[in-house]
Symmetry: C2
Subunit: 249 residues, 2 copies
């Protein structure tokens, strides 16, 4: 990737959406304007949804669609839409039922998308990304998010440590997730209170500063020989646990 | 991919291992012979481990390594090893503490590798794959598994439905995981007994026949607008729950 492409990726806000499931959710959610949908092949559901959403439909040959696509498997559909609306982090922190997921330097688009999908299904009230350290919301992210981006509020902040300070002032618990955490995620005392769950980067985990700003650093108990989970698997376990505890089970 | 490459992928048994973490575990576990390790760049830990394991070390320029690599980001290291030893499924089913994960048609190598990693960290006693419907253990799988393949026993069977029949005869509970399951995975009555957890294909879920052979079909409660988790995220939640219950918490 050249520097110009990288800069574009960093500024991406979900304007290009690829893959059937992500496009179906984009058209169904109706939260943002969809300008155009490119289709090749058999996708009547999408054609109908595009019509209902007032998006222009363009039938294109598969090779033209593949050239336009920025993911490896667009599944015959690419949509062009307005950017996803972003949320204000203080609004998200002000929700008494806040369940936020913050990413401290996650740079893999698959992981970012997978965490969004996981967080949305667990009832998270928003996701917080650092403007300068994260990937943008690229086509690979929206595809892996499988539509979650259409529902889950996203806030960008200048840095995660500063956001955690604001969270603490707002009475929101800061819970880090790290392979070296000192509390089991299954024994979190604050799972059913307003909280922000902070996930560290692939491989490196939480940064030192973020760790010191967390009131609790939790880990997922390991029962095998290898030492850690992938960040998206760890997010799935932690988010499901928070959801379970909030459900009162 | 041409048919010959696809056939090779199907027969892969982890002989080519890429990525730092996967190669470190390969060399550390010592479960199979490592013939040669190709290195480019700064990787002293791996050079030392390769020496200790009696593997031939070959320093190569980055472009040569990239050409040899079969994943997108080999991180400067490719190892060539004996195939992973496979386990006998009846041996795995005969373990009174059996905690097996069976994959019913999962075809994405990232997902297969991620499920292996998750299962291994949750203390699973083996993974069961269908010989003709699954991907082989390709470099993409071993890389995503991050070393789990070196510890987690793998059994190949001719079909998952037949294996489930053998499981039932052996007194092992068959638990399906599906977005349309009728029991919450958090209320599984058999989590601490010998069980095989069956995961369905991306998108389609469990096949009809597999579903009828499962004594319980469980689902992960959904709290948002989108309908399902990715198979590797679902596996992470379910495996962690089985581990938690076996821990007695």
């Amino acid at each position: 990737m050249n520097p110009r492409e990288r800069e574009r990726e960093r500024r991406d806000l979900g304007q290009q959406v690829e893959g059937r499931r992500a496009v179906v959710e984009l058209l169904t959610a109706g939260r943002r304007r969809v300008h155009e949908v490119w289709l090749s092949g058999e996708t009547r559901e999408i054609a109908e949804l595009a019509g209902a959403a007032g998006a222009r439909l363009r039938r294109v040959p598969p090779d033209q669609l593949e050239r336009k696509a920025r993911t490896e498997a667009p599944q015959g559909v690419v949509a062009f839409a307005a950017p996803v609306p972003t949320a204000d982090v203080d609004d998200l922190l002000g929700d008494p039922g806040a369940f936020l997921v913050a990413l401290d330097g996650v740079t893999d688009p698959q992981n970012l998308g997978a965490v969004m999908r996981t967080a949305e299904t667990a009832g998270a009230t928003g996701i917080v990304l650092a403007r300068h350290r994260a990937v943008g919301i690229t086509p690979a992210v929206t595809k892996a998010a499988a539509g979650a981006i259409e529902y889950l509020p996203v806030a960008f902040v200048s840095g995660i440590p500063g956001m955690l300070e604001r969270a603490a002032r707002a009475g929101v618990w800061c819970v880090g997730l790290d392979a070296n955490g000192d509390t089991s995620v299954f024994e979190l005392p604050v799972a059913d209170q307003a909280l922000v769950l902070v996930l560290g980067a692939e491989g490196r985990g939480l940064s030192r500063l973020v760790r010191t700003r967390c009131e609790v650093v939790a880990s997922i108990p390991m029962h095998g020989s290898i030492a850690s989970l992938n960040v998206s698997a760890a997010a799935a376990v932690a988010c499901a646990e928070v959801a379970r505890r909030r459900d009162g089970r």
